[in-house]
Structures are given as C-alpha cells and as structure tokens.
C-alpha cells in the first residue's frame, strides 16, 4: 500500500480501503492460523482485525507497512481472545483445541509436522516472536513494536523459545 493510497483510505475512500483489506485477507488468516493452529480462531481473529482496522484507519501513521500494521492488530486481538478464553476454558475444551491443532498439522510431512507441533507447544509469548521472526522475517524492533514489548525482551523470548524448540525436536529425534 503506497502513501497515496493510505492518505486516500484515511480520508474516506472506502472502496480503496476495502480493496487493500481484501489483498491482505489471506495473509492475515494464514498468519493467525500458523500462530494458533486453529482454523476457526484464525477466521474469527481476522474478522475482528478487519473491523478494528476500519475503525482505526485514521490512526495508521504509515511508519510500517500496512500488512505489518494489520499483523500488530491481529496479534493483540488474538492475545485478547486467548485471555478471555483462558478464563472460561474447561478441560474438555482445551483438549478439543489440542486435537484440532493436531488435525491441522496431521497432513504435513513428518519433519514439518514435528516443527509445527513443537511450536504449538510453546507459550504465546515465545511462539509469537518466533513466528514473526522466522516465518515472516521481521526484525526484533518491528516485533517489539507489534507485540508492545521491549526489543531486549523479544530477543530473549526468541532465544528461549528456540532453545525449547530445539530441545523438543531433539526429543522427537531421539
């Protein structure tokens, strides 16, 4: 999305904004899907992200790309939903979520299945920076901005997350 498009969308060009949101829709769904391992949640979070993006388009400064801005909103929306779910989640529901995640990765080749499974075992605070860094190639500062954490914290989380991931994958191999 170039700066001219941003200005037009910010000043009420609804058609242009709709077009830009459509262009980023699949990207967003895939991001949340990979991060959560839950198809339904990916669509729900994406929908809520779109609504928030429409409401907050005037707050978009254009410092980062439009897709990064959407990822930032999606990450916060995902964490909010997870926080609410955590309060209400019963054992059966969390088991169902786990099975759903396994179902999603079940069709993948063994090596990638192991990686995705190991990744989904990690806490959100470690998984999200790893997904953003190693799946999407964002740098630490961008991730810090997206997750509202300090750059140092992001670095240490990625480091710890990768350590856990290596351990988990080592266990699988062994």
């Amino acid at each position: 999305m170039d700066s001219n498009d941003i200005q037009l969308a910010k000043h009420g060009d609804q058609q242009l904004l709709a077009k830009r949101l459509k262009e980023n829709y699949s990207f967003l769904v895939k991001y949340v899907w990979k991060m959560s391992g839950d198809e339904q949640l990916a669509y729900d979070v994406t929908q809520e992200t779109l609504v928030k993006a429409i409401q907050k388009i005037s707050q978009y400064k254009g410092k980062s790309s439009f897709s990064s801005w959407l990822i930032q909103i999606a990450t916060h929306t995902y964490l909010d939903i997870k926080r609410k779910q955590k309060r209400a989640l019963t054992y059966e529901q969390s088991e169902a979520a786990r099975l759903k995640r396994e179902e999603m990765t079940g069709s993948m080749p063994a090596e990638w299945y192991d990686v995705q499974q190991a990744l989904l075992q990690l806490d959100d605070q470690y998984r999200i920076p790893i997904v953003l860094k190693h799946y999407y190639g964002y740098d630490y500062e961008e991730i810090a901005q997206m997750t509202k954490a300090k750059t140092g914290t992001v670095k240490s989380r990625v480091h710890y997350g990768l350590k856990q991931l290596r351990k988990e994958l080592g266990d699988h191999e062994g």
Partner: protein, 103 residues
C-alpha cells in the same frame, strides 16, 4: 537441527509448506466494501453517542456547580447547625447518664 541456521531454515521451510497447505476462503470485494461501509457508519454513530453523553455530563456538572455556588452559604450554615444539634444532643445524653450513675 542443533544450530541456529538449521533451525531457521527448517522454520522457514515449515512456514512455506504451511502457506501451500492452508487454503483460505477469501470473500469477494463486495463483502469487504459492505463491511467497510457498515463499520464506518457504526463507528460514526458510536462517536456521536459518546459525544452527546460527554456534553450531557458536562451540562449536569455545570448545573450542579451553578446551584452549589448560589446556595453555598445556606449549605454551610445548615451543616454548622446540624453539627451543633448533634453535639448538644450527645452532651445532654452523656451528662444525664453521668448524673444517673452519681445518684
């Protein structure tokens, strides 16, 4: 798989593979246009309601302030009178109890 480069390339390959595996059902442009229109309208509606409530609250606050400025001396005298009555009541009650003990 142990070193950073290996895990990085493995993660990238996994992401690439997942991108290929995941099939997203993308709605049509009309859906997005409709969503943008509806949400923008809803947003402005909410904004108007919030502004109206803000003005209402401000009006109530100003009214209360105006009333309290006009009646401040009366309120002050009323509180003083109430305090004196309560204190005298307490004094008489305590002194009558003390007299009762003495007798």
């Amino acid at each position: 798989m142990k070193d950073d480069k290996n895990i990085d390339s493995l993660l990238r390959r996994t992401a690439h593979q997942m991108d290929k595996e995941i099939e997203v059902e993308e709605p049509s442009l009309a859906y997005f246009t409709d969503l943008v229109q509806k949400e923008t309208e809803a947003w402005y509606k909410r904004l108007w309601i919030e502004l109206a409530l803000l003005w209402l609250t401000a009006a109530v606050c100003f009214s209360v302030l105006a009333v309290s400025v006009v009646y401040a001396p009366l309120v002050f005298i009323g509180i003083q009178l109430l305090s004196v009555i309560v204190l005298f009541g307490y004094f008489f009650k305590e002194s009558s109890r003390t007299v009762a003990w003495r007798s």
